[in-house]
Symmetry: C2
Subunit: 217 residues, 2 copies
DNA sequence: ATGTGTGAATCGGTTCACAGCC
DNA sequence: GGCTGTGAACCGATTCACACAT
């Protein structure tokens, strides 16, 4: 077995589920569960067993027929694949309501995404502290990225400045952007972009609520 | 002939994009743009024109060949379809860091989702005020839903109590749930569920960052 | 006997390409 | 001539079903 090269391109849909499996495996490991079947893992992840098996098969043949998957080993392989063996420092841009909440939200650091810097364009905010971080001006992004090894930019600004901030992030060398602003933004090739739009989520729910009578299967 | 009945079942992927079109149409209307082509709308929404046309065609034939779509008319039809002609009051469960931020985040009310109630299981929090709302105990959900016509429940609790809260919401008659807790939860038939998992988003970005060398198209 | 790994069948969604209408 | 609306072709993802390993 001479190394795997990049034999497999993992489908996007699978990539989006891996973190869910990972979280469940962490819980299983904590409760000292040694092995798990695709059936049981599927149940915990809210999907079906065939999907779990296919998803995990993209990582390699890490299961044992007749037995299931070794929790610790699968955890190790999955963490590696997801790049979670080391931390990815994050910068949050836009320290308003949402930005502050995200900065204080322990869940990030806990999962390997330490909030390493906060930036804002509002000079009255710059210099203030939040937790143990001082808010810096958005134009300092390049230095911050450089000095702190920032890998991921989180945009929590008002919509009308989101694109500008994304541009600055990309220019500063950030290759991963998570956008919370309710605006469609674009990033250069080679930069990954994900978005979380709270109002959109509510409107989707509103649609299905509105159409509840039409049987939803 | 016999009318259209429920001629069209709108695909899920389309439903998820309608709110994005809607927001763009609102901006266009504000800037007094009268008509828009699928091409231009696609550009603003970050998708391609064929997709826009197909998506809009599920709403009905509201475009004019050779001209484009009337912004106001399309806006009206789309709002109607999304159920945004009236407000949908929201309850937020779990008034910690994230819950508080969501409660204060103006964006909800502004888009027709007024935060009508806040609940928590922590009796030391119950009775406190946040903005102009008093935090109520989670067991009061049924009354709150009844009195305030609450339609949507937002879960911002710690992961280990999220399922319990979801159960209580469903029992109280809530048919739409938005889950921010990092846990897989299930809801009864007839209840819609969407989730926003911040750590999962970061981990997905981490994956692609990790694999940046393998050309990403 | 049990449960994985994976080709094959299927499904949902996207994109193409063009007929139809303004 | 320009742009919509939509069948048809295509593509990615899901599900099925079973050979194979333990």
């Amino acid at each position: 077995m001479a190394g795997d090269l990049q034999k497999r391109r993992i489908p996007e849909a699978t990539v989006a589920r891996l973190p869910v499996y990972l979280r469940i495996l962490l819980e299983l490991a904590e409760s000292k569960t040694a092995t798990i079947s695709s059936e049981r893992l599927a149940e915990l992840a809210g999907v079906n067993a065939a999907k779990v098996r296919k998803d995990l098969s993209y990582l390699g043949s890490y299961g044992t027929r007749g037995v299931g998957y070794d929790v610790e080993y699968l955890l190790f392989q999955m963490s590696r694949e997801l790049g979670l063996n080391h931390d990815w420092p994050v910068v949050i841009a836009g320290i308003g309501n949402l930005g502050s909440a995200l900065a204080n939200y322990g869940g990030f650091t806990e999962r390997g995404f330490p909030v390493a810097a906060l930036v804002d364009a509002d000079t009255t905010k710059v210099g203030r502290s939040l937790g143990d971080l001082e808010i810096r001006h958005v134009d300092e992004l390049p230095q911050l990225v450089d000095e702190l090894g920032i890998a991921i930019g989180v945009i929590a600004t008002p919509a009308h400045v989101a694109q500008g901030v994304a541009d600055k992030m990309a220019e500063a060398g950030i290759h991963s952007v998570l956008n919370f602003a309710p605006a469609v933004i674009t990033v250069p090739d080679g930069v990954s972009l994900r978005k979380v739009d709270l109002a959109v989520e509510l409107q989707i729910l509103s649609f299905y609520q509105q159409h509840r009578h039409e049987q939803t299967v």
